[in-house]
């Protein structure tokens, strides 16, 4: 079956969705009106309700509906009339938890998040030279509730916005019920889908160099989130790490998975992730990049 995917709204995410859909073997972007598609990805500001399933993009105002991430409930996703894609940051948190949960129960989650003021093209993006604590983000708070409910008993996210445009950078402290070995943590992160673990000593000292690497590799868009290996530590039973999250591109693979899992009953989340990443040429292991050196 080839899934006909309609795309509503034109923004930094939607134009990437079109390209990502076109790269998949089992879906095509549809030029038709939404009612003549199998599923619609909505990237407008307000939620869309149609007779066919709608994947609500990360920028859509939140309403009800399951929230999709790598930790989504497969059964809930299938044929759901409306699926909310989590924000890029919550998707990143989900990827990290997806990787770390096999190491043990997470008892508490704390994120000190640094958010870019906005994309370079956005005309109103806050102060040119200031840091601004943000005390609420309704969409992200909604997604966090979906992600952590019945999974992590306690969580807190502190947010600060600063004069910068590329990506968000977060410091996470994840408390586990059993203390893992650092080697196990690094191994788990390196296995995790859509997580790239790189080292500052290998030429990634700051976010600009991370961006430049992907530009130079011909994949200006990085669908992975980047974890600095030297930032990963185990401190009194907690995993501490820093992660770079590109805002426009992180949601793209999960949107593709949401489309596939909503429409095709025989596909598992893991299988969809593998299929999506192969089509998008997502490379997360440094060894895969370094092979060319």
């Amino acid at each position: 079956m080839t899934i006909l995917v309609g795309i509503v709204g034109h923004d930094l995410v939607s134009k990437r969705v079109a390209g990502a859909v076109a790269a998949q073997e089992d879906m095509v972007p549809s030029p038709h009106q939404p009612d003549f598609c199998d599923v619609v990805v909505n990237c407008a500001a307000d939620p869309l309700r149609l007779a066919i399933p709608v994947i609500q993009g990360p920028g859509v105002r939140r309403e009800q509906g399951p929230c999709f991430s790598l930790l989504a409930d497969r059964a809930e996703v299938l044929t759901a009339p409306s699926l909310q894609i989590a924000t890029a940051n919550v998707l990143a948190f989900a990827r990290l938890l997806h990787a770390l949960l096999p190491l043990g129960v997470v008892t508490r989650f704390f994120a000190s998040t640094f958010r870019r003021a906005g994309h370079a093209t956005e005309p109103r993006t806050g102060c040119v030279d200031a840091l601004e604590p943000l005390f609420a983000d309704p969409a992200e708070d909604w997604d966090l509730g979906c992600l952590f409910t019945e999974r992590v008993p306690t969580y807190h996210v502190s947010r600060t916005r600063g004069p910068y445009t590329h990506s968000d950078l977060h410091t996470l402290k994840i408390d586990l019920a059993t203390t893992p070995a650092l080697t196990d943590v690094l191994a788990a992160l390196k296995r995790g889908p859509r997580l790239m673990v790189g080292a500052a000593r290998d030429g990634f000292p700051n976010t600009a160099q991370v961006q430049e690497f992907f530009r130079d590799m011909g994949t200006t868009d990085s669908y992975t989130v980047f974890v600095w290996e030297e930032s990963v530590a185990v401190v009194d039973g907690s995993v501490v790490l820093m992660v770079d999250v590109p805002q426009e591109t992180t949601p793209i693979p999960e949107i593709i998975d949401a489309i596939r899992l909503n429409q095709l009953p025989g596909v598992s989340l893991a299988a969809s992730v593998a299929q999506t990443d192969a089509a998008l040429r997502v490379r997360t292991r440094w060894a895969d990049w370094a092979r060319g050196l």
């Binding site: 640094f114 030279d129 604590p133 807190h156 501490v240």
Partner: protein, 344 residues
């Protein structure tokens, strides 16, 4: 009343502020300021009427040759002082280590950029005032570390602190300086940052971990805390403890670090300085035994009050009571809180 005779080496971001702070104290006298003869900051010192000394002989064209009436060299300044505040850039004080050997009477106080191992004691007014007595070479912990110290000290004293995790977002450069940070990038520090270990030089019993990154802004740092206490608390209790603490301002309604700078400019603070840490009231929350909060540190001025206290702490004749010194310093600098905040 006997006054402490104080000299300053390095009239830069910190040195010029300490010069003003020393002159504001009734029990201190500023003997002079010293620096490289080419430094235009010494021109400004001369304009403000401060006695100017130089670290080497001026050459034609040097700022001091053109603008200053040079009173002498560094040794001549040191001879007249009881305390020398070394405010030279990080790594430079070691070049002047022999000064103490040539002038054994001299107490030297360096700033937080120097290694703790290079001094007899690291200092914070609240944490370890008494340890400074009689020491000859001391160090005030760094700007961000001072901010962390004030916050965790407050929680520890009021409720007992089991552990704290601190995430710092630091300005890339002071307003007047160049930055090594790329214009549009964030530069994370790999592994634990120096701040928690720095605070533990004065509060060794605390369990702290810190991480930091640098970002392209100039006004101030922002710090996020997750603190686990030894007892359950309500948010109101945490706020009350912070509000009762000197050199801590709890405020709301000022959105950004730029807003803070404007606010303190409007208050008439010299150089729009804010030696106090600013706690965003909107950020403070307590859940059981855990407290979350966001604060701002003005890195150019936060260590000034602590350095003044360090002078008193090091000189035996000035008294050994830290709360006495803290109150005197704050009153002289115009940042004093209600009298009750200083009763211990």
């Amino acid at each position: 009343m006997r006054v402490a005779r104080v000299g300053i080496l390095g009239y830069g971001v910190i040195g010029k502020r300490l010069a003003d702070a020393v002159r504001a104290q009734q029990d201190m006298e500023l003997v002079g300021v010293a620096g490289p003869p080419a430094s235009f900051s010494l021109r400004d010192a001369q304009l403000l009427g401060l006695p100017v000394f130089v670290t080497e002989s001026p050459k034609p064209g040097d700022a001091t040759a053109s603008f200053c009436k040079v009173r002498g060299n560094l040794d001549q300044l040191a001879e007249q002082c009881e305390v020398l505040l070394d405010c030279t850039p990080s790594g430079v004080p070691v070049q002047y280590a022999n000064l103490g050997r040539r002038h054994p009477h001299l107490v030297t106080i360096v700033q937080g950029g120097e290694k703790a191992s290079s001094v007899e004691v690291s200092f914070n007014s609240f944490a370890n005032y008494a340890e400074a007595a009689g020491k000859k070479r001391l160090r005030v912990i760094s700007c961000s570390s001072t901010g962390v110290c004030r916050f965790v000290y407050t929680l520890d004293r009021a409720f007992g602190l089991r552990q704290a995790f601190i995430s710092l977002f630091r300005r890339a450069a002071d307003p007047g300086k160049r930055s090594k940070n790329p214009t549009n990038a964030l530069s994370p520090v790999m592994g634990q940052s120096h701040h928690a270990p720095d605070v533990k030089t004065v509060l060794p019993h605390l369990n702290l971990y810190s991480v930091s990154l640098d970002c392209s802004t100039t006004f101030a740092h922002v710090l996020n805390f997750q603190a686990d206490l030894r007892q359950s608390v309500e948010t109101a209790e945490v706020l009350a403890a912070l509000e009762a603490m000197p050199r801590v301002v709890v405020g709301e309604g000022l959105r950004t670090t730029a807003d803070l700078a404007e606010h303190y400019r409007d208050l008439g603070r010299p150089r729009q300085d804010r030696p106090e840490i600013y706690v965003w009231k909107e950020s403070v929350g307590a859940t059981g035994t855990t407290v979350y909060a966001t604060i701002s540190v003005h890195m150019e001025s936060i260590t000034i009050p602590e350095t003044i206290d360090c002078i008193r702490a090091a000189l035996p004749f000035m008294g050994d009571h830290n709360w006495f010194s803290i109150r005197l310093t704050d009153q002289a600098l115009g940042i004093a809180k209600a009298e009750a905040c200083y009763r211990r």
